[in-house]
């Protein structure tokens, strides 16, 4: 069975990724193809164009699936400060992704409240990382 694809990225201003996490559940073998990360980053980065195109087309923060490449889909969520949450997946339920984004947004808000946080600074908080991973586990456990 092929391994699932689930990569979450928060993109700050100037297209800088400020948080990256590979949320895919690792299979029995434990060793994933590290090289797939290259494609994932390319697809995620390319999807930013689609996000910017679609973010003004409606009042929703959640944009749904904005871009596709082969069987990879990119779902997006744009905060009011133009920070973009991108999730690369292989066809997850859109509602689940929406819920996941909503919960991550809440956690993210706590990070933003840090007065030393700027939209260009990397999120290095271990607690945030753990929280996002546990959210991913709870939503995308299959």
């Amino acid at each position: 069975m092929s391994t699932t694809v689930l990569t979450f990225v928060i993109v700050g201003l100037d297209d800088h990724p400020i948080f990256e996490a590979d949320l895919a559940v690792r299979g029995e073998s434990g060793s994933r193809d590290d090289r797939a990360q290259y494609l994932h980053q390319f697809v995620l980065h390319a999807a930013l164009d689609a996000v910017e195109e679609q973010q003004w087309q409606g009042p929703n923060m959640n944009l749904g699936v904005v871009d596709k490449f082969n069987n990879l889909q990119v779902s997006a969520f744009v905060t009011a400060a133009q920070i973009k949450f991108l999730l690369l997946h292989d066809g997850k339920n859109e509602d689940t992704v929406k819920l996941f984004f909503r919960d991550v947004y809440e956690v993210y808000l706590r990070v933003v409240m840090n007065p030393f946080f700027t939209p260009r600074s990397q999120i290095k908080s271990a607690a945030f990382n753990q929280k996002v991973r546990s959210l991913a586990r709870s939503y995308f456990r299959s």
Binding site: D14, D15, H16, P17, D34, Q37, Y38, H40, Q41, F42, V43, H45, A46, A47, L48, D49, A50, E52, E53
Partner: protein
């Protein structure tokens, strides 16, 4: 080219040319052109107005018309492999020219707003044209099928009519025509070519005759004669029309095909068409107009009408539709027989029957619909109508055909029809959705048909063509997203090369979208690059990658940047471009996100390339390596200019402290304080900018941070600073004469971060700038990092931004001065921990490490507890040796110019004689006494000033800063009390309560000295008690040595007698001294606070230096010294110094300390001191006389400074209250201490058990009361007792019986008539009189 134009040029009637060998030779020999080539440029006919009528009622006019000419035997589609091979060749040729095309900076172009619309992919256009050509003459479409046949014969042939017949029958026809798939009934036209170069009988006139004959036989309109080769063929007579032939000359395939012969004739020296004159060309033009208008168009018109008639009769109309419905519903099992009877197969009896279509398609094989089938006819009708520019007819026919083919499930043919529908719809100005929908349908059907075909790739090619048409259409009509979509769709099925080209175009489409989808463009371009690399088109692949580098660079998408640099680096390495390869590999090195395996792999890859580059070129380029991570923005400079720092602690002290210390040093020196007024003359660069000043030969240190972000260890060797002298020497080898650079080596563990100090020693005066740092990574890869350019700012603006010190530490430009002397100082034998009050002698070493002698050393110490003696005699020897009294003290080898000058705030200025020079390398030692008085942190700072012996431009003096700090532990606590002695009128009793505050070791109080002028001290008690000689009181002296031990954490009290100056005897002997107290260091420390008080009272001395703001602020905060006149007049009490020592294990003093008590005042001031003396023991024979009389002498002393009048009243009873009363202070009477030996006389240990002991002096049982009687007057008056004077009054007492009497009931009253009217009184001192009966 515009899409409509392109279609009009591409989908035009084709004419099959059959030419005789001789005719070809006439053309090729002189002109380098085949007959077809010669005719082609004139195939475009414009400015026509030809009325035509196709299927409709009304005629319309054709204004423009193009005819394509092809050699008959070459009208076939080349095989797939040959075509691909040819296309690859085309691309290879074009790719070689790609170097000439500039690689655009996409981001810059987009940001500048110009967009990215310039066509910078010329290879694509070439490839696209050839790709379309390779797909022509297919069997799916008929617009490449010939509509006419042109027979070309040379005019010199004997019988042209026969010759034309022979030629047509013997010529090879297109393969499809031979197979019957191509219409073979064509309109025939004949052309005779007369070559002027051919020597034939009769010349042109003869040819014209032949023309007439031929016209008579074949028809007037069907034969033409043209004349060529009238020119000489020499370059001088060339018309210059070569360019009309050259551009459209298509390439050739080895086996021929796609309308072109396998090879072309050689080009004549004068170029194509060398022998054609203007008249010749006009001939050709006339012929072609005639041919097109009078032969070709009428023939096509007729054919369209004929085909339409057939189609209408078989396919259109209600009856036919019903038939079709019925017949086509039949399953494939009906077979060929059923099909044969169907209306479609019955028209012309084509070799392949249309009815077999359903069955064949069910079997999954291709279904050829022959030219004779009704489908073939419909397709031919549609294509002809299209070429006749009757797009509506074409479209309706195609739609009808499409529905038939759809029901036949002949998907390949259906797809071709859909493709044509798309084109026709476009020409008929249909909507974009319809046009694109048709193309997409075509694409989809081609692809779905592909798996069932014998040659699936052929279908894929057609599918790609459909999408290319769609993309071109969409792109030209502003729908770039659709174009991108179409091209992306097309690329999935294609082989690598075509996929790469498609992806590249798809990417470029995204840049034309508004706003440009740059990121998507970059992604597609990377995919294109991958495909290019996969098909070995390295140049184009690299180009694709290099274009997107600017999009991704600097956005922290680590994996993306890594991939791009990896690919580019490897390609550059393979092409031998090591410099670029190294740059790319270096950019990959900072990859903390990668697993350690890849980190080491990338490192190894980089190192291997470095080695390869070294082998190839001999030298390795120095790169700005990302490893280790150098923090170039936070570089701190440490260099010594006129201010040198002697130790690291001195750098930590605030600048204000040093300013206040250095002020006295600089007093009187011209330190050149510049203002904006006097800077007019020296407007050089050096003065206008704030440069750091450094001295040649002295080290400049730069603190930088290095970090290793990887998990792999890094070995950094030859880590050194880079510098640039100004002016820059022409030869790089000369750099070493400017400065000496110190190299370092460090191994950085994974994740480690270190801060290093790099050194540089300038050797020449001048300007020098530190530019960066360079190193050797892992022993082979040279790297460098430039510091962030921080040019020194202008003085005025800089002063606002940052403090001078901060800015100096940031400024990397130096003004190097010539060699200067440099004073270095150190304090030896200074312990990190001392006891409070300890006196320690350290050694101050002054050394000139410069190369020039220095002189005029001055020093300022910040603390009064640091002392430099006036000469250096005491340099050697221990602290005790130098303090012990009675030693031979030799004069020092050198001395200070004058003893230290005390300054305010405890500072002391020491000046060495100006003539005393310190040569290079010379050292001077000086004793330095340290005496921390209080517990806690004791810090002292020394600032030295020295001047070069010879004047040096730029720096007239240098300052050295030295800072030391000592932890001080508590040691001895002494509390002193002074009280008037009751035994006499002048001396005082001194009580010292001492406590050993340290809990570990005992200390010994070795000496108590009183150094106040005139005051002396002595032990209590008498000496000589032991040896039996007469005990005499200890003589007063300046010092006594009680030698009392004080164990750890205990307290003791000691008493001494103090002799004021009035009582001082002539003896000025210092007495028994353990250490020298009157002079030397101890005396200095003892007298220091007193002198300081005197100094502070004086107005502050003004130094000529400008005080800093901080100094002014602190001065404002300090309360001004009060003019205390009254206090100054008061006589100050004696000062006492207690000297102690802490013995080591052997009992020798380990360290010595002193405790100072200043200005001891009496606890209670006594105005009139009195003693009552007389014979204490009287023997009287009471048997003889009734009473015993005793004379008592009352000594009185006026201790005030005013004359007093006294009155002694006797017999007053107990002292009354309410007046000033003198009470006896608890005083240890000499009698009470008789039991102890002399050593312990003054010191009684205050043990808790003995705390209740009182100092009562009265013998127990002494009677008091009025058992004695006063004799004489009750009042004795002393009218005036001047200050300090003593007087004696004799009182008489009478007792009646033996016994002990306490004489106390008398009162001393006094007044100061000159001062006030008050009266004072006190009871007189008691006296115990012991009367013994003489008889007893």
């Amino acid at each position: 080219m515009e899409f409509r134009e392109w279609i009009l040029e591409r989908l035009t009637p084709a004419v099959m040319v059959i030419s005789s060998q001789e005719a070809e030779e006439i053309c090729q020999e002189k002109n380098g052109l085949t007959v077809v080539d010669m005719l082609r440029p004139y195939g475009f006919l414009h400015q026509l107005s030809v009325p035509v009528r196709t299927v409709g009622e009304h005629a319309y006019r054709i204004r423009e018309f193009r005819v394509r000419f092809y050699k008959a035997d070459m009208m076939f589609q080349p095989p797939l492999e040959a075509a691909d091979e040819y296309l690859k060749g085309v691309l290879n040729t074009a790719a070689k020219e790609s170097h000439a095309v500039e690689i655009p900076d996409v981001m810059a172009a987009l940001q500048s707003g110009k967009g990215f619309l310039a066509d910078n992919t010329p290879w694509w256009n070439k490839y696209l044209d050839e790709f379309h050509r390779m797909l022509s003459f297919g069997e799916l479409e008929t617009f490449d099928h010939p509509v006419g046949c042109l027979l070309v014969m040379h005019a010199h042939v004997g019988n042209p009519v026969e010759a034309f017949g022979r030629l047509f029958h013997s010529a090879r026809k297109p393969p499809l025509m031979a197979e019957g798939k191509m219409e073979h009934r064509l309109v025939m036209h004949h052309l005779l070519i007369h070559g002027d170069n051919v020597q034939a009988d009769g010349g042109y006139a003869r040819s014209e005759e032949k023309l007439k004959a031929a016209r008579a036989a074949l028809g007037t309109a069907a034969v033409h004669l043209i004349r060529i080769n009238s020119g000489k063929g020499d370059p001088a007579s060339v018309l210059g029309y070569e360019s009309i032939w050259r551009p459209p000359l298509p390439g050739t395939l080895p086996g021929g095909g796609a309308g072109e012969p396998p090879s072309r004739p050689p080009v004549p020296p004068a170029g194509y068409g060398a022998c054609l004159t203007k008249a010749n060309l006009d001939d050709i033009k006339r012929f072609l107009e005639d041919f097109a208008v009078r032969a070709l168009l009428p023939a096509m018109e007729a054919r369209v009408r004929a085909l339409n008639h057939q189609v209408t009769s078989t396919r259109k109309g209600l009856r036919n539709q019903l038939k079709t419905l019925l017949w086509r519903k039949q399953p494939g099992g009906l077979g060929a027989a059923a099909g044969r009877d169907s209306p479609r197969g019955s028209v012309h009896g084509g070799s392949v029957h249309g009815g077999s279509a359903a069955a064949a398609s069910a079997n999954g094989s291709a279904v050829p619909y022959g030219g004779g089938s009704v489908e073939g006819q419909m397709r031919a009708l549609a294509d002809l109508a299209f070429m006749m520019q009757d797009y509506d007819t074409a479209l309706s026919t195609l739609r009808l055909l499409a529905s038939d083919l759809r029901s036949d499930k002949a998907w390949k043919q259906y797809a071709a029809v859909q493709e044509m529908i798309g084109v026709s719809m476009f020409m008929a100005r249909g909507t974009m959705t319809d046009v694109l929908g048709a193309f997409k349908e075509a694409f989809y059907r081609y692809n779905s048909a592909a798996p069932h075909e014998a040659q699936p790739r052929e279908c894929v090619r057609y599918a790609t063509r459909a999408m290319l048409l769609a993309a071109e259409y969409a792109r030209q009509h502003g729908a770039c997203n659709d174009a991108n979509y179409a091209l992306m769709k097309a690329h999935f099925q294609e082989e690598n090369l075509r996929a790469a080209l498609l992806l590249e175009q798809a990417a470029l489409c995204l840049l034309r979208v508004s706003p440009p989808s740059v990121r998507k463009y970059a992604f597609h371009m990377v995919l294109a690059g991958l495909r290019y690399n996969a098909c070995d088109q390295k140049a184009l692949g690299m180009r694709a990658y290099r274009q997107v580098l600017s999009v991704y660079k600097g956005h922290s998408w680590a994996f993306i940047e890594e991939h791009i640099h990896d690919v580019l680096g490897k390609q550059c390495r393979d092409t031998g471009n090591f410099d670029a390869a190294l740059e790319h590999f270096a950019a990959m090195l900072n990859c903390p996100h990668s697993p350690p395996y890849w980190q080491s792999h990338y490192l190894k890859q980089f190192m291997d390339t470095i080695a390869a580059a070294g082998n190839a070129k001999g030298a390795v380029p120095v790169l700005e390596l990302p490893l280790p991570v150098v923090d170039a923005d936070h570089v701190t400079v440490q260099c010594d200019n006129e201010i040198c720092h002697g130790n690291p602690e001195s750098r930590a002290q605030p600048e204000e402290l040093w300013r206040s210390l250095e002020g006295p040093l600089l007093s009187g020196m011209d330190i050149g304080v510049a203002s904006w007024l006097d800077s007019g003359g020296s407007s050089s660069k050096v003065s206008a900018l704030q440069l750091n000043t450094a001295v040649a030969g002295e080290m400049i240190e730069v603190l930088i941070s290095l970090g290793n972000p990887l998990a792999v260890d890094l070995q950094i060797s030859r880590l050194r600073l880079m510098f640039e002298p100004e002016p820059m020497p022409t030869d790089a080898a000369d750099l070493q004469h400017y400065a000496e650079v110190l190299e370092q080596m460090v191994v950085l563990k994974g994740g480690e971060q270190v801060r290093l100090a790099l050194g540089l020693r300038p050797l020449r005066p001048g300007l020098l700038t530190l530019t960066g740092v360079e190193w050797l990574l892992n022993g082979n890869a040279p790297g460098h990092k430039l510091f962030a350019p921080k040019r020194p700012r202008h003085r005025r603006t800089a002063s606002r931004a940052a403090t001078k010190a901060e800015q100096q530490s940031q400024c990397l430009s130096f003004n190097i001065l010539d060699a200067l002397p440099r004073l270095e100082a150190s304090v030896d034998q200074l312990l990190p921990t001392m006891l409070a009050g300890e006196v320690r002698k350290c050694t101050l070493r002054l050394r000139n490490t410069g190369s020039v002698p220095l002189r005029g050393i001055r020093a300022v110490s910040s603390s009064p507890d640091v002392y430099l003696p006036p000469d250096n005699a005491d340099t050697s020897g221990s602290t005790l040796d130098n303090l012990t009294s009675g030693r031979e003290r030799a004069a020092g080898a050198s001395g200070l110019q004058e003893p230290g000058i005390r300054l305010r705030r405890g500072m002391t200025l020491y000046t060495w004689p100006a003539a005393q020079a310190l040569g290079p390398g010379q050292e001077m030692q000086w004793p330095l006494w340290v005496h921390p008085r209080d517990k806690g942190q004791f810090a002292f700072h020394l600032a030295f000033l020295s001047e070069p012996e010879a004047h040096v431009e730029g720096m007239s003096y240098r300052l050295l800063r030295l800072s030391h700090s000592v932890d001080v532990l508590p040691c001895l606590h002494v509390a002193a009390e002074l009280a008037a002695s009751r035994a006499d009128l002048v001396t005082f009793m001194l009580k010292l309560s001492m406590r050993n505050m340290q809990g570990l070791q005992a200390l010994t109080v070795r000496q108590v000295s009183c150094l106040s002028e005139g005051w002396r001290i002595s032990l209590l008690g008498r000496r000589g008690l032991h040896d039996g000689t007469s005990a005499t009181p200890f003589p007063p002296s300046t010092s006594v040595t009680p030698a009392a031990e004080l164990p750890a954490a205990t307290a003791a009290t000691a008493h001494f007698r103090m002799h004021p100056p009035e009582a001082a005897t002539a003896s000025r002997s210092p007495g028994e001294e353990w250490v020298q107290a009157a002079e030397g260091a101890l005396a200095h420390f003892h007298s220091e606070p007193t002198k300081r008080l005197q100094l502070e009272a004086q107005p502050e001395q003004q130094f000529p230096t400008r005080p800093s703001k901080a100094e002014l602020r602190s001065a404002a905060l300090e309360p001004p010294p009060e003019p205390s006149t009254s206090e100054a007049n008061q006589p100050s009490g004696p000062d006492v110094m207690v000297v102690w020592s802490v013995p080591d294990s052997a009992g020798n003093p380990r360290c010595i300390g002193a405790h100072h008590i200043y200005d001891l005042q009496e606890k209670e001031k006594v105005a009139i001191r009195a003693t009552l003396q007389g014979e204490e023991r009287l023997r009287h024979n009471f048997g003889h006389g009734g009473f015993c009389a005793a004379a008592l002498h009352l000594e009185l002393r006026n201790c005030t400074d005013a004359a007093a009048s006294l009155c002694i009243e006797t017999g007053t009873g107990s002292p009354s209250r309410g007046e000033a009363v003198w009470r006896p202070s608890p005083e240890l009477a000499p009698q009470s201490s008789t039991a102890g030996d002399s050593a312990a006389a003054g010191l009684s240990q205050e043990l808790p058990s003995s705390s209740g002991r009182s100092g009562g002096a009265f013998p127990v049982g002494a009677r008091s009361g009025s058992e004695y009687m006063w004799c004489g007057s009750v009042r004795t008056l002393v009218t005036s007792l001047p200050p300090g004077r003593t007087t004696r009054v004799t009182l008489r007492v009478v007792v009646m019986a033996p016994g002990e009497y306490e004489i106390s009931d008398y009162l001393i009253r006094w007044a100061f008539p000159g001062v006030d009217q008050l009266q004072y009184s006190q009871p007189g001192p008691k006296f115990v009189l012991r009367v013994v009966d003489g008889e007893g």
